[in-house]
Amino acid sequence: MTEMKYQTKPLDIWNEGKALRQQYYENYAKAHEKGGIRWAGGAWAYSAVPAGLGDDVWSLTGEPYGASVAFNKEFAARCQEAIEAKGFARDLCAYLRNYLGSVVLDEYVFGGKFPKPDFMWTTHICCSHAKWYQIASDLEGGVPYFCIDVSTGLIEDFNERRREYVVNQLLDGIDWLEQTTGRDYDDQKLIQAVYNECEATSLWAEICALNRTIPAPLDEKTMYSLYVFGTIIKHRPEIVDFYRKLRDEVQERVDNKIAAVGNEQRRVITDTQPPWGFLEIFRYLETFGVVSVGSLYTFSLIGAWEVKDDGTWGPRTTPQEQGIDITTRKQALEVLADWTHARPEWQHFYSAQKKSDMMLRIVREWKVDGVMLHYNRGCEGLSLNIAENRLAFKDAGIPVLPFEGNMGDEREFDLERTKKAVDSFLELLGVK
């Protein structure tokens, strides 16, 4: 362990976050007991939209669920075997396999039977998205399913016509939600959910922006447990509230120079989801004073960003901050579509260059010394163009460590080999 340079302490809000997460999975599982509704869909689903059905509507988002399964290696292995036995290929999205395997086994990773959703509601940008819930719907005996095509391209091309395509699908979706659930739709609840979602995702960006500070107040391993709220219930008031408190606490850490890693000497970023069962890699780095301060993934899977007047990235100005008064259903959906389609993690689906540019920006602005690229066999969506990103870092003269693994399938991660590769990277960074 290298020398401690900074004061460090755990986050005060940690336990609150833990309780919130537990509450979320429980709310979903127990929704029916209280006459509520539950739906399943992707982390990138337009989750604010079903919120118009009432406050007792709970969702289970597939990717964080797949990651929770991955943490439980024994259960993950059983899920993977179960879905492979149904004829699904081993190289498919690991979250999808973990989720669907859990459905096949009829076991919820948090205990009990798998809680069947009342409907599926999702978006499609990765090849696996729509098909995931098509298959899930089949496996669950024909659960009603609605999916919105969001593959409308780069944000700079997102004009009125393209937005209309998305908004029209969402409007159809609301009619479908009413028919499917038999409930009346409340536009005021939708409008509130849109405000909430914009605020929560902007707050997350603000929190990540604070991590530019030396020493970094947060390390990426910790951030994984915090960004997750944006992937499960980004439109709910309790998340806005939680992120406000978190932002204040992180600001306090910045003001008082409280570090996530007391011996910080080098700062790195990663890319794509980590191999969840092997987060010890981060602890290994930390023993040499190397801290991962984030990634395009943790910052912008849900974080909402914009380029500020000084040319740097900062939290996106929310509609409420801009004084936009949302009054109608259509307007709410338009605001939400404009907000959603600017998500940085959607841009790389169209352009390798855009992703390289965004990552290079992070390297500059977060004062990063090196980049670890997880060639993630478990996720074709986020590993897209990763080899071109590596070339971009090489061209820019930035130390880069590509390592292969799988976010959710431990059979495809070789800890010892990765540690060896990390050792060479540490030498390159001059800390070993």
């Binding site: 004829g87 699904f88 729509a130 095509d149 391209g153 209309e164 395509y165 390798a352 590993s383």
Partner: protein, 374 residues
């Protein structure tokens, strides 16, 4: 009689270069059959589908992570090796994630006069996709006009539609012959016919098709039809594999590939708004699995083909790591088997182990002979 198609397929580069020299026109390489060739023909451009060469290669590893399909890597290898250096431009119509990396790397590393990424929608089952794609076609048309330096008139588009539709009709007529008890053409010949249509000038291809259609009624093949098979799955122009299968007392009588029926099955139905008509054709075509949701509309179409062509068994193939097809595979096999069509699954790579596949296909074909024994 099908030699011409084979020759075109094998000498695609020579053909395109000669065409360029002769016409002074532009050649545009494309990656996916959702590209609206009608507009390219209207612009007097030769659309040429970029396919792989089925040779082992080591040039794509720095550009595309090895977990993506071998087809997309093989295509990029062709570009990196300079085999398409004569192209004036490239384009992709949005399809799966894998192949768009080929486009991305190509744009970055192989300089082009023109490159275009068309936002073809995935939600082809929503009615909103029609006006949306119409709008995309309009944007694309403008980009083409800028590139070629002239406007594309309705008359030009009509010509594009007409020649494409004719090509589709003629290939469908040839496919009709495959319904016969003893088809006068093999699956290999049909494959050469369709893939070559993705490479040469359509008028010329149409002439060759017309000549074939004249002779087909009197053609008899000196071979046994054997077991009537269908082949379904990812991109496939693996002629060596098809030839091997058909050497085993079987015939591929129909397919569901983007190098086969998915490419040409439906036509543009003319309407006053030409772009709307073209949009409708691409929205309504037999879908790629990545666009086939929420319903699986591909399946009834496959089943209908199997019935119409009196199929006894199906080879379901996929390129290794091809997520779109992998995601459909279990339900597809189940659907076929429930309808009395046994299936056999094979995974393709850039090069396929023909010897090993032969043993496996033989074993599958033997199962069709069993009932006769008892």
């Amino acid at each position: 009689m099908f030699d011409k198609f084979k020759e075109w397929y094998e000498n695609r580069h020579d053909y395109a270069q000669a065409w360029k020299k002769q016409t002074g026109g532009k050649v545009l390489g494309y990656f996916c059959t959702y590209v609206p060739e009608e507009l390219l023909i209207a612009a007097d451009i030769l659309p040429l589908r970029i396919l792989g060469s089925h040779e082992a290669q080591d040039v794509t590893e720095p550009h595309i992570f090895g977990m993506f399909c071998p087809f997309c890597r093989d295509c990029l290898a062709q570009g990196l090796k300079g085999r398409f250096d004569y192209l004036n431009g490239i384009m992709i119509s949005q399809s799966c994630l894998h192949i768009r990396q080929t486009y991305n790397s190509w744009v970055k590393h192989i300089p082009q006069e023109f490159s275009y990424y068309m936002y073809m929608p995935h939600g082809v089952q929503t009615p909103h996709a029609y006006p949306y794609l119409r709008g995309e076609l309009e944007v694309f048309k403008k980009a083409l006009e800028k590139w070629i330096g002239r406007s594309i008139s309705d008359k030009d588009i009509d010509r594009g539609i007409e020649v494409m539709n004719k090509n589709r009709q003629l290939m469908k007529q040839v496919y009709e012959f495959r319904k016969q008890d003893n088809p006068p053409l093999t699956g290999l010949e049909a494959m050469y016919m369709v893939v070559s249509s993705q490479m040469v000038e359509k008028e010329e291809h149409n002439q060759a098709l017309e000549a074939v259609l004249k002779e087909l009624p009197n053609r008899k093949l000196d071979r046994n039809t054997g077991t009537r098979l269908m082949i379904i799955g990812s991109e496939d122009d693996d002629t060596e594999f098809v030839e091997m299968v058909e050497s085993l007392d079987s015939t591929l009588v129909v397919d569901e590939h983007c190098t086969g029926t998915r490419y040409f099955w439906n036509e543009v139905e003319p309407q006053k708004d030409r772009l709307a008509a073209i949009a409708a054709r691409y929205i309504d075509r037999p879908p790629c699995p990545s666009k086939d949701w929420p319903e699986r509309k591909r399946f009834p179409h496959i089943l209908q083909l199997a019935k119409d062509y009196n199929v006894e068994g199906a080879l379901v193939i996929q390129q290794k790591f091809c997520d779109p097809h992998e995601l459909d595979m279990p339900a597809l096999r189940q659907m076929l088997e429930e309808n009395g069509i046994p299936t056999y699954f094979l995974e393709f790579d850039v090069t396929v182990p023909i010897g090993q596949f032969k043993t496996r296909v033989e074993a599958f074909l033997e199962t069709f002979a069993l009932p006769d024994l008892f």
